[in-house]
């Protein structure tokens, strides 16, 4: 098995995901299926092939440095579960080290 339960739990923690013990079994199976397939691809010799950085063939999609209108403050805050005085409000973030 390319990926262990411990590794899945670590990734889940980093991605802030939660799931039950039962789902862990299922996830583990699915992920390992995918990764086993990737293992198969690894057998191909890619020695002299440049890494694919992007699936787009083009480069340089750029825009001019011109200001367009932003959202109103009200609109910007619409989806926030909690706001206060025009700020998004979240549980206290401890300023580390101070």
């Amino acid at each position: 098995m390319p990926v262990s339960h411990a590794e899945i739990l670590k990734i889940a923690k980093l991605a802030k995901l939660e799931f039950s013990e039962k789902n862990l079994e299922k996830l583990s199976k699915d992920l390992n299926n995918i990764l086993n397939y990737v293992e198969l691809l690894k057998e191909i010799d890619t020695e002299n092939i440049e890494t694919l950085d992007s699936i787009h063939e083009t480069g340089n999609v750029l825009r001019k440095d011109e200001i367009l209108s932003s959202l109103s403050k009200e609109n910007a805050l619409t989806n926030a579960p909690e706001t206060q005085n025009g700020f998004f409000k979240v549980p206290k973030v401890v300023q580390e080290g101070n």
Partner: protein, 474 residues
Amino acid sequence: MEAVIGLEVHIQLSTKTKAFCSCKTTYGNEENTQTCPVCLGMPGALPVLNKEVVDFAIKLGLATNSKIAEKSIFSRKNYFYPDLTKGYQISQYDKPILENGKLEIETENGLKSIGITRIHIEEDTGKSNHSENFVNSTGLDFNRCGTALLEIVSEPEIKTSKEASAYLAKLRQLVRYLEICDGNLEEGSMRCDANISVRETGSKKFGTRVEVKNMNSYKNVEKAIDYEIARQIKVLENGGKIIQMTALWNADKNQTIPMRTKEDSQDYRYFPEPDLVPLLIDENWIDEIRKTLPELPKTRKERFTRELCLSDYEANVLTSAKELADYFEKTLEISKDPKLTANFVSGEVLRLLKETKSELSELKITPEKLGKILTLLQTNKLNLQNAKKIFDEIAQNGSEPEKIMREKGLEQSLDTNELETWVSEVLAENPNEALRFKSGETKLQAFFMGKIMQKSRGKANAQLVTKVLLEKLK
């Protein structure tokens, strides 16, 4: 023991809009009025790179002799923190836009070149508000979120806190010359982190390093680095071990304080940003930018010493900022006297800026007006004292040099008759001093000069007065 220091400097680019969306980047605006679906990280919103960001990066690349990548790509740096809307920061990882540059700094032992490992484009985060308005909560303002940054990573070739602040000052001077960042450490448009380790002097092996953040002034950079070096040496001398960590500089307590680190926090799981295409830069683009480069500080300084015969010190002061050097050269166009102009600009003008806490562009005394004053001084219409008087008058109230000179009767008198009268009167009024002078007490000359100048209301030409005075006291 010796210290090994590497600096990571973030500069906020002074583009009008953010890196990947068209929101404006104004500092200090009302909170959450400069956001859009892209910088708020709304699902489905797509980033588009601002060309100006690339132009600015190329400028810095050329000015630091960096290798400009033909192809660079953007990556996602994944971590969760409330000031980051998307759960990842768009940055560059294994293919940054610039690599292998250098920056020359001045040290006590002469010039030293500090290598620049890499410079990459990334986006800024929002700002947390921890004020007492938020009880058991934190307020978030995303006006800054998505603003373009360049992260400049130095080689670990810096040895002392003095070298570190010299490097920072040089970098600040450079980005201000290039007009790509305003270099304001206090407002955070330039931020500096330091990687510090110590080792036996001459050793090739690096010690365990500590990353120090949150140093928002040159003074704090020096203090934090000195503190951390001393702390590490002490730990090692007592037989202890340095623990790799990130610490914050606390300016109130004057010490570095370890950040509480979660074990996984450094696991950023970088991967190529699928929403952005590769950035391709060809020679034409680089040439276009090269044409827009201003004369850089080093070249300008060399020209000032070589062509204008200014001292190293004067040239250094005058080229410290682009605006000051521009001001000097505009004044010089009128006055045509490099030495005199250098004296006035590095003396009077800098004093005025300091006293009034203002910017050059705000001064009422424009280069044109200063140039005119200096011309009046050179043609002996004004003496030095009255030239400074007119300078101060214009600095406060504006107006024109010649107008003030006429209105206040400050024009220097070169009329020998008038001079003779002043001198005779002063000698007559102070017969005792005149006698003492004649019997050898020559230091009284200054006394007479003062009296005569007073009588002439500053209009007398000092050289002429000296001549007439000594003649009469023979």
